[in-house]
């Protein structure tokens, strides 16, 4: 009943606009590139230093000098340009990228985001996530609505306040989960609003599985 990963990616793709420059995170966000509407010009940025990222190469055509920020082999397009990581993050931090779609561990109702560190576990580092959420014009989180423990227990990921260390404060504009879509008025005090339901999901079900307060406008 809830959306699949593919459906979540397809929903995120509806935030794309013609002419957009977009950075996609690892995981479900990567799938969004499969749903760019025909005829729409969208250029993907990879924060290691590439604009105009193409699809994975055909087997045998992998180039070790051509990888994305997830360290996966990718390809060039006719629109591609390469630049240094300093120039790449100047682009990110300077507000030139229209849209960042990324995963999260927790999102708070004021737009706070946590997605890089669980205290007590090995810390891998934030990579470019803090720069992306601080710099990109619009930040869309795509994630499972709740976290599931090994014992099958559920804990909410949409919270009143994040308890994990933050990646950024008041940075998230939209959250797409397997249950629905929320907008966040990150700079005003409009809070969080549920604007869409996944097929067959009810507002009550979402309320039961969400800690954050939210308005309903479905």
């Amino acid at each position: 009943m809830a959306w699949t990963r593919e459906q979540m990616a397809a929903r995120a793709a509806k935030e794309l606009r013609d002419g957009f420059y977009v950075n996609l995170g690892i995981g479900i966000p990567t799938l969004v590139s499969n749903y760019i509407p025909e005829g729409m010009s969208v250029q993907l940025q990879s924060e290691n230093g590439m604009l105009g990222m193409g699809p994975f190469p055909y087997e045998g055509e992998e180039d070790p000098d051509l990888i994305n920020a997830g360290k996966q082999t990718v390809t060039e397009l006719p629109t591609t340009s390469f630049f240094s990581s300093a120039d790449s993050f100047a682009m990110v931090r300077g507000g030139h990228i229209d849209l960042s779609i990324l995963g999260a561990m927790q999102v708070a109702e004021n737009g706070d985001l946590a997605n890089w560190m669980i205290p007590g576990k090995m810390v891998k580092g934030m990579g470019g996530a803090m720069d992306l959420v601080a710099g990109v014009k619009k930040v869309v989180v795509v994630m499972e609505h709740v976290a599931k423990g090994k014992d099958g227990s559920e804990s909410p990921k949409l919270l009143k306040a994040c308890d994990l260390p933050l990646t950024g404060t008041q940075v998230v504009d939209m959250v797409i989960t397997d249950l629905g879509v929320f907008t966040i008025d990150k700079e005003g005090d409009g809070g969080m609003t549920l604007i869409e339901l996944a097929d067959g999901v009810t507002v009550d079900e979402i309320k039961a599985r969400t800690e954050a307060a939210f308005k309903v406008a479905v």
Partner: protein, 235 residues
């Protein structure tokens, strides 16, 4: 002023000492100065502070210097691909300073550009900003970050002329150009060594002024960390 040296060992002669700070270019295993890193391993120099976006993987790149416990401290943005790193870190044998990737890149650029500090929005309100000055400009908070400058920078380039002018290839450029500017002793390994005049001066990314020594690595091994492919459409 002969910049080209016959070997990595010769290029590093007289520049290494215990406790020094080394910058190493590359993102993941892409564009890393692997031949120079191996020579650092052979030298046995220790207690190093290493500035590098990542820490290599087990058995490759900076992973080599972790095996030999030559690194005391890493300044990085992401070290997730290295089990040895995790072990040493959790055992308290290795210091770690995380920087957001863009902040790391900009700190290195600033260090090379004579800028001791700058303000950025990245990390405001997070652990990264703790203990740092936060200041409001035009209604937004920014955290002050400082420039980074090393004793030695090791970089990898695609082509270089004997004057030290460098050109990079595709995403192997990454951190190499900034690191080339941010030390007193930048040493480059180049896949193609050419004569001055062979490179179009409009295409040069690192002007020769930044490169003090260089070596030619014509058959350098390049590894792929995550080989991802798609299926060929049926003919």
């Amino acid at each position: 002023m002969k910049k080209v040296h016959a070997s990595a060992k010769e290029a590093l002669a007289g520049v290494l000492r215990d406790g020094m700070t080394i910058m190493a270019g590359g993102f993941g295993l892409c564009g890393i100065p692997n031949v120079l890193i191996e020579a650092v391993k052979e030298s046995g120099v220790k207690d190093l502070t290493v500035v590098s976006n990542n820490a290599g993987i087990d058995g490759a790149g900076l992973g080599l210097l972790l095996e030999t416990r030559q690194i005391r401290k890493m300044i990085s943005s992401y070290v997730g691909e290295n089990k040895l790193f995790a072990q040493q870190y959790l055992a308290g044998e290795l210091e770690l300073e995380f920087n957001p990737q863009g902040t790391l890149a900009e700190r290195i650029r600033a260090g090379g550009a004579g800028i001791p500090a700058f303000f950025t929005k990245t990390g405001v309100g997070t652990l990264i900003a703790e203990g740092k000055e936060v200041r409001n400009f035009d209604g937004h908070d920014y955290v002050m970050e400082t420039g980074l400058f090393a004793d030695v920078s090791l970089v990898h380039a695609w082509k270089g002329d004997t004057e030290g002018n460098l050109i990079y290839r595709k995403t192997a450029r990454n951190f190499n150009p900034m690191m080339a500017t941010a030390s007193r002793m930048t040493i480059a390994q180049v896949e193609h060594l050419v004569e001055p005049g062979s490179l179009d001066p409009d295409h040069i990314i690192t002007p020769g002024i930044y490169v003090k020594r260089m070596i030619h690595v014509p058959d350098v091994e390049k590894m792929i960390e995550k080989r991802t492919t798609r299926e060929r459409p049926a003919a």
